[in-house]
């Protein structure tokens, strides 16, 4: 057995063991043991994944394990990447979860499902047959559903979130199921090897691709199938949110890459245009909703939609280039997309853990009620700051590097002959650019309003720092962010190997150690040098202002309040008011619901007693797309009620008439 195999087996065994341990040990040590077990399982998975992306592979077939189709697993470079990312997130989430056990989530069921969720997530990218894949996919949905429901006793909103998630994820499953079954039926076998060898007609291949794309896109939170994401992610316990938002959504991307690229072998340009288009719309819409959001975790959830959108833009561009024979650019775009997957996993787990820490310390995640946390929770503030810098695509942050690669791929793509690229690439560049700009505003809001300034509520005022294990979890994630930001060249060889799995042999698109040097097209960037230059400039500036003649001492003075009374926290800008100008700018897109109530004194209509301002930014896609569907379903249900009035005779009659009808149909068809 090689390292990849050992790592994977150890990871699965540790995860299973933790689940059993959670069932038998008493309440007090349970979260610690489960957390340790999950973290260890994650660490083993990282080892396996890294080994797999390093060129090792591992295949096993256990035909007796499940009835009908057995279990068949295979770990290759593509799977290895996602195993490593999932494992990494599991490590930090496990450590964080040790002390993040508020009421309801220290229980036996939740604690034993948590490691199981990690294990099935590790198995999804390893599955090597349609049957195994679908079983793992469904188990992943079920376990995550149970975890989202963990706090349903404390908060009634959880139940609604769970319903949405359950329905959407199963609709996605049905779509993937149909797609893969059609595929397997045509291929004459359900192992991925058989699927790879299958020779499908373009029509069938297109149907398979679109069906699976719908299912996988719903898992990745892509528009218009994102509605569950901003509901379920905020309501889950925070380390589970981190796992879902940083690891589970990636598997949607994995599915598209595996089925579209590897199994179906590329395909025509329109597939990838569709992927790119969905990604572009999701990116802009997601970040716009995040910019409007005043709920910290909802904001992060929408930001996941945005980042997955960016990944799909990269993936779509890669497919597009590959289908037109531009191997170099395809490799570049794919490397950008996969690097963004890794980066997103690192900073989003950090951000969700920090949000969990805030929730733990203050009891609220409403940005309008937070503020001033830097005093009570300095480590959490620093962690969120690192994550926000990474997420806003500014140097020296992680997302800057992957978005730079993505932009390079798109820029050089403009020069590729072909009408499709000529129209799509500039628009895609504009989308990525708009997303980058809005992301900056969003995360300045989240960090500035949430953590700086004065506390806006008693909870924020009395915030205390979280226990050490939570801080350690955040520290690990933060370290990953920093390392990825400064030395992204580390993971690039692995990405090249993954690219080979997805679109056949691709040349290594990015090389260099300190400096990223694009191969085949012009372009260099050195994140490390950039950070060093920035540091040097800060040092020079500090030295300059410490020069003789400049006063070093600071006098403490009251805030400039125009000489009036002391300023209260009510006079501060809140998250809602911070986003107000942007909301006005994008009025037509977000269509907020505004409600202004002015209460007058009795004596005169000119004397205002109170003004109440309410704003709700509803998800417009949801209102336009889901509500009509739900309304139709509701009407159907109402109509169905008329049929079912409780009379047994009637029901017997229905059976009789149906039988007769079927017989008549059979007679006619014969």
């Amino acid at each position: 057995m090689n390292l990849a195999a050992t790592g994977l087996v150890v990871a699965a065994a540790l995860g299973g063991l933790s689940a059993v341990v959670a069932l038998v040990v008493p309440t007090r040590p349970r979260p610690v043991l489960v957390g340790l077990g999950t973290a260890a399982s994650g660490a083993a998975a990282v080892t396996a994944g890294v080994a797999a992306t390093g060129g090792q592979s591992f295949a096993v077939s256990l035909p007796e394990l499940l009835p009908l189709f057995g279990v068949s697993l295979e770990l290759d470079a593509l799977g290895g990447l996602f195993v490593a990312v999932t494992g990494g997130v599991a490590v930090v989430a496990g450590i964080f979860g040790m002390s993040y056990s508020r009421h309801g989530i220290g229980g036996r069921s939740v604690q034993s499902v948590f490691p199981l969720f990690v294990v099935v997530m590790l198995l999804v990218p390893v599955a090597a047959s349609v049957g195994t894949f679908l079983v793992c996919w469904e188990l992943m949905a079920l376990t995550s559903l149970l975890l989202v429901a963990a706090e349903h006793r404390q908060r009634p909103e959880v139940a609604s979130a769970v319903r949405w998630y359950a329905v959407m994820t199963h609709l996605g499953l049905v779509s993937v199921l149909f797609g893969l079954l059609v595929f397997a039926a045509r291929a004459g076998g359900d192992s991925f090897d058989a699927l790879r060898r299958a020779d499908l007609s373009p029509g069938v291949a297109g149907v398979v691709f679109v069906l699976t794309l719908l299912g996988f896109a719903s898992k990745a939170g892509i528009l218009p199938l994102h509605a569950w994401l901003p509901r379920a992610h905020p309501e889950a316990p925070s380390h589970v949110s981190a796992l879902m938002s940083a690891a589970m959504v990636n598997l949607g991307v994995y599915g598209i890459a595996r089925v579209g690229g590897d199994l179906l072998g590329g395909g025509p340009a329109w597939w990838w245009l569709l992927v790119l288009g969905l990604g572009a719309v999701s990116a802009v819409y997601g970040i716009l909703q995040a910019a409007m959001s005043a709920d910290l975790k909802r904001l992060l959830g929408y930001s996941t939609t945005e980042n997955m959108g960016l990944v799909l833009v990269g993936l779509g561009a890669a497919g597009l280039f590959a289908s037109s024979g531009q191997r170099v650019l395809a490799g570049l775009a794919l490397a950008a997309a996969l690097l963004h997957v890794i980066n997103h996993a690192s900073f989003k787990s950090l951000l969700f853990l920090a949000a969990g820490s805030v929730l733990h310390g203050t009891g609220t995640r409403d940005l309008d009620a937070l503020g001033g946390l830097r005093r009570g929770m300095p480590v959490t503030t620093a962690a969120f700051g690192v994550g926000a810098l990474a997420a806003s695509a500014l140097p020296p942050g992680t997302a800057f590097v992957s978005e730079w690669l993505l932009l390079q791929a798109l820029v050089h793509g403009v020069a590729v002959p072909g009408l499709a690229t000529a129209i799509v690439m500039p628009v895609a560049v504009a989308v990525v650019a708009l997303t980058a700009g809005l992301a900056v505003a969003t995360f300045v809001k989240a960090f500035g309003v949430g953590f700086l300034a004065k506390p806006r509520s008693a909870g924020a005022q009395q915030a205390t720092e979280s226990p050490a294990t939570m801080l350690v979890g955040m520290a690990f994630a933060g370290a990953a962010c920093v390392v990825l930001a400064l030395e992204p060249a580390m993971v690039l060889p692995a990405l090249a190997r993954v690219g080979g799995v997805v679109f056949g042999s691709l040349e290594s698109a990015v090389g260099g150690e300190v400096t990223l040097r694009l191969e085949g097209v012009a372009g260099v960037l050195s994140p490390l040098l950039l950070a060093l230059a920035l540091l040097a400039a800060v040092v020079v500036t500090v030295a300059a202002v410490r020069a003789p003649g400049v006063r070093a001492a600071r006098r403490e003075a009251r805030l400039w309040d125009c000489g009036g009374g002391p300023m209260s926290a009510r006079m501060e800008y809140t998250a809602t008011s911070f986003a107000e100008p942007l909301q006005r700018v994008f009025d037509d897109v977000v269509q907020p619901e505004l409600d202004v109530d002015v209460d007058h004194h009795e004596e005169s209509a000119y004397l205002v007693r109170a003004v109440e301002y309410r704003r709700r930014v509803a998800d417009r896609v949801e209102r336009r797309l889901y509500e009509p569907v739900l309304a139709v379903a509701w009407r159907w249900g109402e109509a169905g009620r008329g049929l079912a009035n409780g009379s047994v005779h009637r029901y017997l009659g229905y059976g009789f008439y149906t039988l007769c009808g079927l017989l008549i149909v059979l007679v006619v068809l014969r």
């Binding site: 006098r555 003075a557 009251r558 400039w560 309040d561 125009c562 000489g563 009036g564």
Partner: protein, 161 residues
Amino acid sequence: MLGLWRKIRRTGRVAEAAPPRPDGERPEAARRLGGSVQVRHVDAGSCNGCEVEIGSAFGPVYDAERYGARLVASPRHADALLVTGPVTRNMAEPLRRTFEAVPQPRLVVAVGDCARNCGVFAGAYGVVGPVSEVVRVDVEVAGCPPRPEAIVEALRKLTGR
């Protein structure tokens, strides 16, 4: 736009020639500012006559800016306060706080008779007293209202140009 351009061409330079540099002693703190004085104006209860004159002191004709003085929006950015009017009860504390907000070295210019000795408002029930009773005053400008030349001269004492 073309009309404006023609107007600019026709008008030419409005600023009057600079009068000779005012003599008389300069406050010690002004020496340390080195020819650049940012000014924050505080209306401590004025009738707005002095404001009109300050406005014209910084207008094109007298152009106080050419001597290195500039009006700013925050006392934190300022070196000098330009206080007008007798200090009313409501403005005494804000004036003190504004003075505190100015980083050292800092100066106070009392503009107009009201700011110097309460002028016609002396003894009124809402008046605390002249500016010098609330904060330390470095330069005084007499007049009700003072002429823009006098205000410019006081500012030139601060900038030394």
